[in-house]
Amino acid sequence: MSIEIRLENFSGPLDLLLHLIKSNEMDIYDIRIVEITEQYLNIIEQMKRLDLDIAGEFLLMAATLVHIKSRMLLPMSDEISDDEGEDPREELIKRLLEYQRYKEVSELFQQLPRLDRDVFTGYISAAELFPTEPDEDDILAAEVYQLASAFHRLLKDRPVEIFHEVVQETLSVSDYIERILDSLLHCRRKGLRDFFHQRSSRAELVVTFLAMLELVRMRMVNVEQVEPFSEVWLSLAVSEHELNTAQAQEALSDYG
């Protein structure tokens, strides 16, 4: 087989197999499995020698081919032919035929007149038609994917998977509220991530987080952020003096 076969030119092992079958002028329904397997393995071998990464799917197909080959070579005893009488190639042939259909169709798709490549539309924007009116009562258009994607993006940047955790009683939210207040008394502003130490247990992280939520709710702590998805900064919203007032103490005493 020609040296210039490169796996990355094939969209997968089925694509490569189809190529081999075609260049050997074989009939898909009657693949000469010994020949094909040998050529396929050669290509994989060459890639290995060139130290190229071979995707697992290509290796899996190699194993499949070898398996089929060995079954083809086995003498068919009458006993076996009852259960395994079918052609060992059948499953592969099915997959190749099916894959070939979609491969052909996808080549057709590439050629279909495509919007903004081959055909164009015109339209008039609302702003052009009615420059002075802001649009208000718009109907919303939405797809589930966009929704899930928004949430995923958020968690990716700020992984907080803890609202539904059950907090163990041994850790008290009020302790952590005090700890947070304490550390904020020492430095005016502290990044959110600094409160979550690598060594903390999951439960500690949860309690720390709940304590923060409470402080925010009680308006004792300000939460700031320069721009979406950047670091979140915590700072005291009240003076040291106010911290000691009865009201604050009362609010805090609800915990513990």
Binding site: L108, L115, E143
Partner: protein, 188 residues
């Protein structure tokens, strides 16, 4: 040109996406039959002459589009490049278009390769939509093509997809494009 025809023409022209008959009727507060006749008359007008654009039927709606043969000139007007598709992306899109609703495992069985990355790209380009979950153990997500897919390829509906070549019968069960052997591919 009668008033309704003029209105239909203006609406289709001003809209950003193909307008369906239903929407035209509701915007114009006109009976279905009348709007339909206006559309037919318009269609005729544009077909009779070689115009710079024609009335196309896309995604169950109507939109003015330029004929493909004028593309070489029109491309010069446009700054941004059209969406390109890798072979893997097009292959995946084709499978989903014909086999929807389909799960990721089924797609990967058909393609023989992991397709998560390609599917994510297609989802991000708004060409796919999620079609709920399949009623089998594990409840995997099912995927289908979006309305935008029809618009991009200028299709009236999924029925307009080019017909798949049937493969000659090796086995009668091959020819019906029924649910795939979904999960049985892990074990070989």
């Amino acid at each position: 040109m009668d008033k309704l025809k003029q209105l239909v023409e203006a609406c289709i022209f001003a809209a950003e996406t193909p307008l369906t008959l239903d929407r035209l009727c509701s915007i114009l507060e006109a009976p279905r039959g009348d709007v339909r006749s206006a559309l037919e008359a318009l269609h005729q007008d544009y077909a009779d002459e070689q115009r710079g654009f024609y009335l196309a039927e896309i995604a169950d709606g109507y939109q003015f589009r330029t004929p493909a043969e004028l593309a070489p000139f029109l491309r010069k007007l446009k700054k941004e490049r059209a969406t390109k598709f890798s072979r893997a992306a097009m292959e995946t899109l084709a499978i989903i278009a014909y086999r929807q609703p389909i799960t990721r495992a089924e797609i990967e069985y058909l393609r023989g390769v992991d397709s998560g990355g390609v599917m994510k790209t297609l989802l991000d380009k708004n060409l796919l939509r999620l079609l709920g979950k399949k009623d089998v153990p594990g409840r995997p997500l099912m995927y289908g093509t979006s309305r935008h897919f029809l618009e991009l390829f200028g299709l009236r509906s999924l029925n307009d997809l080019p017909t798949l070549k049937e493969f000659s019968a090796l086995d009668p069960e091959l020819t019906d494009a029924q649910p795939l052997p979904p999960d049985d591919h892990d074990d070989r």
